[in-house]
Amino acid sequence: MAVRRFIASGFLGIACQMAGFMALPAHAADKAFGEYLAGECVTCHLPSGRQVGGIPAIAGMPEISFMALMESYARRERDNQVMQAVAGKFNSDELAALAAYFASLKPE
């Protein structure tokens, strides 16, 4: 019985892993890396999601919106010297990691 349960859960585990693996994009977003990189964002952008002055709230922003915004700053389609400099230096893995981190925050 115990052996059977072990085998069953093992199969289930493998099945889940496979499903998870298949659902992931080519470069899995590394949230821990994103949290580290976000250190430079949160000097201005409040992780609470509160907006003060001219610094917009980004906590809880959907990943796809975050990526689109950062890419438009990187291409200098959006105006802001600070954000153009910040966005311009991140590669796509780093942007994905940042997007995953900010999307995971729950605005207060």
Binding site: Y36, C44, P47, A85
Partner: protein
């Protein structure tokens, strides 16, 4: 005897020995040995950030103690906005209580008197000894009281510096408000390197703003500068001409030929070019060097500041010590709160990885300095930085442009206000 049982026996003996030692020393040693110990000296933008990030991200795996004499920290950043009447002292004063409780940081409200690097202990002025496995030091700057002839510590009431925020800021505000129409203000600007490169010139803007707003536009502000040029110079000078015509005169060293002497009793400043008598206010911003604690510990070089490894902010003199903020030699990064905050996160990540085995990420540095010229007219300078073998190097610099739209300048000031809320939350929550 098998090797296994020999090891077991040795472990048992060591364990017993340690226990006996613990009982003899007292219970504090048990707690001290339970977790690696991190001591952070200085509760400003560098030390406050380092303590918070080390404690927060290690989630109780480390003992973090923050040594800071003040219970309320008054930020030097935005103290010029207090001078300009845009903010009050309460707006730039922050308590440690919330951040200590929320992140599990032990506060030691005392002065760090000495670092015993051989024993890895910080001695506090009150006599307490704080042993450390890693030490982060962020003492900021000390003023060189011997750098302006005739001026010293005993004259900082007569001729305030206000380059460390607090009572000096209040004094400067009161003295500024007492300047009569037609009165003369002399600012003696500092030589490089110093805290907040655009700071003296933002302050000049705030002086002129307050005077003009009070209808005292016959006042004159002379800036006696030892430098040939300064941060955002064209932007500041254009702003002074536009907002405060005829009120500000900046003199570089080729013109004034140096400050020969000052007389705090009579408000006199003698330069090689001219003597300013009966000045209503003389703001002396002297030369600076790293805070005393790191110089006396032998962590500074001949420049008076501390050399660091660009990839980690680790002292090149002592591998157990990290130096962040104004006291460090951070290559192309200016001495600013934003820089200190950024450097502290790199140091915090490195300290945690060494003591807890947490992941190591590549060092990233960033900075922006905003300066206010007048109502809704702010400028900025900043950039991205990366560690190179010789120094932290600027990679993507930017600076505001002349003739920007009023809307953009207003937006820049709104950013400045938002940034302040962000950085103080990043340190004090």
């Amino acid at each position: 005897m098998s090797p296994m049982s020999s090891l077991n026996r040795r472990a048992l003996l060591t364990g017993l020995g340690a226990s006996a030692g613990v009982f003899a020393i007292g219970s504090s040693a048990v707690i001290g040995q339970a977790k690696p110990r991190v001591v952070v000296i200085g509760g400003g933008a560098g030390g406050g950030t380092a303590a918070r990030y080390i404690a927060k991200d290690s989630a109780g795996a480390l003992n973090v103690t923050l040594v800071e004499p003040s219970r309320q920290f008054v930020t030097c950043f935005h103290s010029n906005l207090v001078v300009g009447g845009y903010k009050q002292m309460a707006d730039i004063s922050h308590s440690y209580e919330k951040m200590a409780a929320a992140n599990g940081i032990t506060m030691a409200h005392d002065m760090a008197a000495r670092i015993d690097r051989d024993r890895k202990v910080v001695m506090l002025a009150g006599g307490q000894a704080l042993p450390y496995d890693r030490l982060v030091v962020s003492p900021g700057i000390d003023l060189r009281y011997d750098s302006v002839p005739g001026w010293g510590r005993e004259h900082e009431t007569a001729m305030p510096h206000a380059w460390k925020a607090g009572p000096q800021t209040t004094l400067l505000v009161n003295r500024l408000n007492a300047v009569p129409n037609g009165g003369v203000i002399v600012m003696i600007a500092p030589p490089n390197p110093y805290r907040c490169p655009p700071g003296p010139y933002e302050r000049v803007s705030m002086f002129a703003h307050v005077l003009k707003k009070a209808g005292k536009d016959r006042c004159k502000i002379f800036v006696i500068d030892p430098k040939e040029n300064f941060s955002k110079q064209a932007l500041f000078q254009e702003g002074w001409d536009r907002h405060y015509p005829g009120m500000v005169e900046w003199l570089g060293p080729k013109i004034h030929e140096g400050v020969k002497s000052v007389d705090p009793k009579t408000g006199t400043v003698v330069t090689g070019f001219e003597t300013y008598k009966d000045a209503a206010l003389v703001n002396v911003i002297p030369a600076q060097f790293a805070g005393e604690i790191v110089r006396s510990a032998g962590l500074a070089n001949a420049s008076g500041y501390c050399p660091i490894d660009p990839a980690s902010m680790r002292s090149t003199i002592d591998a157990n010590i990290f130096i962040v903020g104004d006291a460090s030699i951070a290559g192309d990064m200016p001495k600013s709160a934003f820089s200190a905050n950024s450097q502290a996160k790199v140091a915090a990540m490195t300290v945690r990885s060494e003591l807890t085995g947490s992941r190591v990420f590549p060092a990233r540095y960033t900075n922006t300095c905003w300066s206010l010229l007048n109502d809704d007219d702010a400028i900025k300078v900043g950039g991205q930085f990366e560690p190179r073998p010789d120094k932290i190097t600027s990679t993507v610099p930017f600076v505001s442009q002349l003739r920007e739209s009023a809307d953009l300048r207003k937006q820049t000031q709104a950013e400045n206000i938002g940034w302040y809320a962000g950085i103080v939350a990043d340190i004090f929550t």
